[in-house]
Point group: C2
Chain length 468, copies 2
């Protein structure tokens, strides 16, 4: 280990130890407090990286089990979660895109059409996500099965590789797809799995009905502003070294000619691609969840030998994400189970009572946003906090529609705050184009930007719409 790694290890262990040893505040169970302390230390370890993050997670859950904070079986629950296996399947899918050349072909087609600059490429990827999102409620399926393989292929075609030339185009492109993903989730009630739950909770807690159309109308102005600004803003914040690419269109056309007609494997992959797209968009009728569709895609690729089994087993990146994200999913789920989350919501609620409603609402929105540093899933966060926060704001006197919508969109735009904040994160971050510290910095900048656009501009827009 280097000196810095040892220093970071000491800091991580030290913070964990201190949090573990100080007594649980208020009436919180010691078990819940210990779990919180160890989870904070693990997340700190993700940032400081005294070991690779997969190893940090593995050591972390071992300590959680060794100290008896959780049973061994409980720290492993994340490895059976459907979203983890969708990630594994998506990795296989992306591997096939790379191996067959199909990803390169799609990238060339896009670049031939709009390859004039890195900026236009960024916009076109964001728009592609938007177009399929109303009918594909799994953001992970969109990211892992569709956008990530294409974005990754475009980076390679533009000559940007994670080890040698990350800033040429890759860092920019990965951030564009990631930051716009949260916006796209917020745009439609059917663009993210947890949104229908928000609608239900809003109805139960605040007694208001949000239709598909109202959700979309309310999101239209802030969504349009955010979508229009994000690729441009990123262009300033993490500028790609490759800017104008006038020769790329001609090059792409030439390369496509060189590639010739599609190979057998490419045609199979294209068929599978269309199939999963159809199955993902028709999921609400066929009742096939996104994970089983992703696994089916991997099965077809295996049976047709487009992919070998040994290629699946050596897909190092998939297993790395599997371990660290799976660990975090388990810890986040258990934090809820042992009562930490409800205790936290209560503390926020009681400390806010007495404030004027506007300040109470602003504070609640901000707390909701940044408490997402402790979550690995939008849906888990919603089920833990949405209803409680809506109830507190309304009891402080905030208008119901304003409250429900502000918290609903906040529950989506917090997607891009860290690399583990939702299932698409590990994919884009895992591509390796950007160090963790930069990833978090950009995530924080856009959390502020999105709060201003969605809650600031949004609340004015909803006033004009007559919603409050």
């Amino acid at each position: 280990m280097t000196k810095i790694q040892i220093r970071n290890l000491i800091i991580t262990v030290g913070v964990g130890l201190v949090l573990y040893l100080i007594p649980a505040p208020g009436d919180l169970k010691p078990q819940a407090w210990h779990l919180f302390g160890l989870t904070v230390a693990i997340i700190l370890g993700f940032i400081l990286e005294p070991l690779p993050i997969g190893a940090v997670a593995f050591v972390g859950i071992t300590i959680v089990a060794l100290t008896g904070t959780l049973k061994t079986a409980d720290v492993l629950t994340g490895f059976a979660s459907t979203s983890m296996w969708l990630i594994v399947a998506a990795f296989m899918f992306a591997r096939a895109f790379l191996k067959t050349g199909f990803g390169r072909r799609i990238a060339y087609v896009i670049l031939r059409a709009i390859g004039g600059s890195t900026l236009t490429v960024g916009y076109s990827l964001a728009l592609s996500d938007l177009v399929i999102s109303p009918a594909t409620p799994s953001s992970m399926a969109r990211a892992g099965g569709i956008l990530f393989p294409i974005a990754r292929s475009i980076c390679s075609v533009l000559g940007s590789e994670p080890e040698t030339t990350p800033r040429k185009a890759g860092a920019y492109i990965m951030q564009v797809v990631y930051q716009t993903e949260g916006i796209v989730c917020a745009m439609f009630m059917t663009a993210m799995a947890g949104n229908p739950m928000i609608v239900e909770l809003a109805s139960k807690t605040a007694g208001i009905e949000i239709s598909w159309g109202m959700w979309f109308l309310a999101a239209l102005l802030p969504g349009a502003v955010a979508m229009a600004c994000t690729p441009l803003l990123l262009y300033k914040i993490c500028p790609p070294e490759l800017k104008k690419t006038p020769e790329v269109k001609a090059l792409a056309a030439e390369e496509l000619k060189k590639m010739g007609p599609m190979s057998r494997d490419e045609r199979i992959l294209a068929g599978v691609f269309v199939l999963v797209l159809v199955l993902w968009t028709t999921g609400q009728w066929t009742k096939l969840d996104a994970t089983v569709v992703g696994m089916l895609a991997a099965c077809i690729l295996l049976l047709t030998k487009v992919l070998d089994w040994s290629e699946m087993l050596t897909e190092k990146g998939a297993w790395d994400i599997f371990i660290w994200m799976g660990s975090l999913v388990a810890l986040a789920g258990q934090l809820q189970k042992v009562g930490f989350i409800s205790w936290f919501a209560d503390v926020v609620s009681s400390s806010i009572s007495g404030l004027p409603w506007l300040w109470a609402l602003i504070l609640l929105v901000v707390v909701y946003m940044y408490s997402h540093y402790g979550f690995a899933s939008l849906t888990a966060h919603i089920s833990a906090m949405y209803a409680a926060f809506v109830a507190v704001a309304i009891s402080a006197g905030a208008p119901p529609y304003l409250t429900c919508l502000a918290l609903a969109y906040t529950a989506n735009i917090c997607l891009a705050i860290t690399h583990y904040s939702g299932s698409p994160g590990p994919m884009y971050f895992g591509a390796g184009y950007m160090p963790l510290s930069a990833w978090w910095r950009v995530g924080f900048i856009f959390s502020v930007f999105n709060l201003i656009v969605w809650v600031g501009i949004g609340s004015l827009w909803w006033k004009i719409l007559g919603l409050w």
Copy 2:
């Protein structure tokens, strides 16, 4: 795919389809019948290998979920099971044995002492297992953490590698440790995790008390016969090409001299080895389960850089076993949950009523033994069938102690029947020294041998002891 692979794929799919389509017998729920049919097809796929077994398992659970036989989340439950993560941890441990040279050193020490022939090596490994077993109730921990790394190192030292020279010594040695493992489990009440459950079930169902001493005394004669014969019998059935190795003792001594003193990494590994041995044997007091101890070992190796994280991720064999064994563990657990197992036990019970007790008991023992083809865990099998079978035999008039003991030992010796029949199997089979068909053949031969020894000779021995 080769022609044979395509033929085997058609057979596997065909059997699955036929079983799926014929109506469920009797009052069995269609879901339970479908799950049984698909599980049979998956196990058939393991034998015929139209694809590598990991891929068969992956495709299999995808089909189980696609057909709606189980929910997607249910087919994934095996991946969070503690025994799967003990296997992953054990693989890392074995990797460290290989990498540091510590495994080679231990192997040389053993060979210097008793390396006169492959047969003596076989016996000494079997005895090592026996010595630590009374205090190490996790057969997986013994196999994965202790015996497997040493056995694997001895094979390499004897010049037997899975790809090129499997029959030189490796196939023989792996089978010796595997086949004697089941015998060792049966010897002591504390040598296998499910045995205390047997004692409890025997007390509840038949009203008899089996003490630690009685268990051992009843096992003493059949156990001694089985332990004495197994390495010799295997020597005939799968003879190692390397037999007498007179030069090996001298060679080992010379190699040990060449290796010099232990390196830093070896010393750390030796320390970890002693630590886990202590923690595994004191588990009943410290309440640390075998999995968390295994994970702790992997953590120490990671933190001290004896192993790199990337080495853990590229441990292909671990992920392969993880997927196929994890799939099977989930399916076996769900077969119980949907009521197939209890239905099966009922069918056996009712078809046996009316038989003389001796024939009823023999039939029950044989059915118990071979129904283990459908199980991935001794403990799961015990919890599913032990009590029911004891009850049926006793109601047919069989003496309680004879019944309880015969089924108790059968519940242990069925360990080595397939490569997935318990958690040590995937390790030894996964080393790759023997093709699947040969593995199953040897497993079947020893199932017959063990039945004769344990139930045949055993019942006479228990008569002499005055137990019935």
